[in-house]
Symmetry: C2
Subunit: 293 residues, 2 copies
């Protein structure tokens, strides 16, 4: 086999793999499930990656028993050094026919490398969220990216959780909802197939799946676009907190990054950004305030 290289883009809900020739031609592409090892465990993460790449080899007419030259992966959850090393060690051991060498970085850095050689700020809002500043000298400053137990602010999970929590708090008389909860409560009951709040407990504990919980965000976007005030509110809040991530790394931005034709490059990655129309009023306000500092 002539030199073949592979790449994986790993997300909290879906993942993608690609094989390219030494000349840069795309040989095959495949899709796969969540490959965030914090969410699905190391075993599921690497078996998912192996299946995607092996399928791609077959699709490209290559021998699946011959390892490719190297596999580069930009993974949601691919940050902690010890955890990354374990993933690579386990891939070498369990799948010796997969690839000769491996490289793992985070989804944020992978996206930035795709968009620019020079750096900028990348803000991911998909299943989870993350923000990274990459300066022209390659140094990185992060904000967020700690997962749903310690943040994920502005992500689809966070937006879904905020909407559901608003319904719980209103029912409990603990916090008054800023808007009528009727649409969100009904949408929640439909999406999670429950008839009361108690029914939500299995979705939060025993059968918790972050990607499924986060998927409720799509229904909230539909509600927001149809004019529901509470749906619009949770997206505005997401816009606000995502903008605050950018503001958090601003003091570390290298001067040169402001000198491009369009000013500071901010790369927005992830499906929540499809609802930018619902988010932008608060985002722009935060950006404007930060500009005044």
């Amino acid at each position: 086999m002539s030199a073949v290289y592979g790449g994986v883009e790993g997300g909290g809900t879906h993942s993608k793999a690609v094989l390219v020739s030494a000349e840069g031609d795309i040989l095959a592409e495949t899709d796969g499930p969540c490959t965030n090892h914090w969410l699905v465990g190391v075993d599921n993460c690497i078996s998912g990656i192996n299946e995607m790449v092996q399928s791609a080899k077959i699709k490209a007419g290559l021998d699946p028993d011959t390892p490719i030259c190297s596999l580069g992966m930009s993974l949601s959850g691919g940050e902690q050094k010890a955890a990354i090393q374990k993933l690579i060690d386990d891939m070498h051991e369990r799948y010796p026919k997969l690839s000769q060498s491996y490289f793992i970085t985070t989804d944020a850095i992978g996206a930035m490398a795709t968009a620019s050689d020079y750096g900028g700020i990348v803000v991911i809002s998909g299943t989870g969220s993350n923000c990274k500043l990459v300066n022209p000298d390659g140094t990185q400053i992060g904000c967020g990216g700690w997962g749903h137990m310690m943040g994920d602010e502005g992500s689809a999970y966070w937006i879904s959780h905020l909407a559901v929590k608003t319904v719980f708090d209103a029912r409990d008389n603990l916090v008054t909802s800023p808007h009528d909860i009727t649409y969100v409560k009904k949408a929640m009951e439909d999406y999670f197939q429950v008839s009361d709040l108690m029914g939500m407990l299995p979705h939060l504990y025993r059968n918790f799946q972050k990607s499924h919980f986060a998927g409720f965000c799509r229904k909230l976007a539909e509600g927001g676009n149809a004019g529901d005030a509470l749906c619009q509110h949770v997206f505005r809040e997401a816009g606000k907190v995502l903008a605050q991530h950018i503001v958090a790394v601003l003091p570390e931005v290298h001067q040169d990054l402001f000198r491009g034709e369009l000013g500071l490059p901010v790369l927005c990655v992830g499906s929540v950004w499809r609802s930018w129309e619902l988010m932008k009023s608060e985002s722009v306000k935060i950006g404007y305030q930060a500009g005044q500092i």
Copy 2:
């Protein structure tokens, strides 16, 4: 065997079992682990209960193969009807020698039944938190009790989480901490045996144990008692939000409950209340404001 009755008090960290004779004499007491089925799963929950009660039978000199008359359990997480029925069905099937019949209620209702025949408000703050109003006619109104994914405000888990999140947000420059984080950061590194924030990820995901995470609260109480301002802050916040739980159910309190010698009975259960001195300023303020409404 003459009639023997059993009781289990199940918590998110520890549980207790007791056997009593028909005359009400305590025959034996035993301790066990967390029996919240949302946290440990149904199998671990009922095997934990079986072990505690079977040990108590042996300790009391009873035949472990003879079922007791009935076993009453007040369990953290013992609320959702379908889930309770599954616990009881599984106990009948898997442990036919345990007890002839079963009754399960929540830890909140169990505590209230122990303290009063007449009702009142019970506020639990242990590993998790919960608030229930029991009116003299037996009707119940709840606030909270949805577990760490949907609240648990004011609990040991929540206090620990708030302190850790404050450290993360300060490091990220996302939210400025109201007080110096030095003590809390050091205490966190010591308690969780980590050297940086990345090291916290296994404690939040792969190896997450709510009771262990919540156990960090004890270190925060020590810090608060030693004068650390951020530790004192998180306990004041807990005092505030627990008081808000009481305020939430106030509109439903039956008039008769205000007529007791000491006014409205509020029963505080759980180890977080040992730090009442750190919490009370905000609690009392909220209570005072509610009284003015």
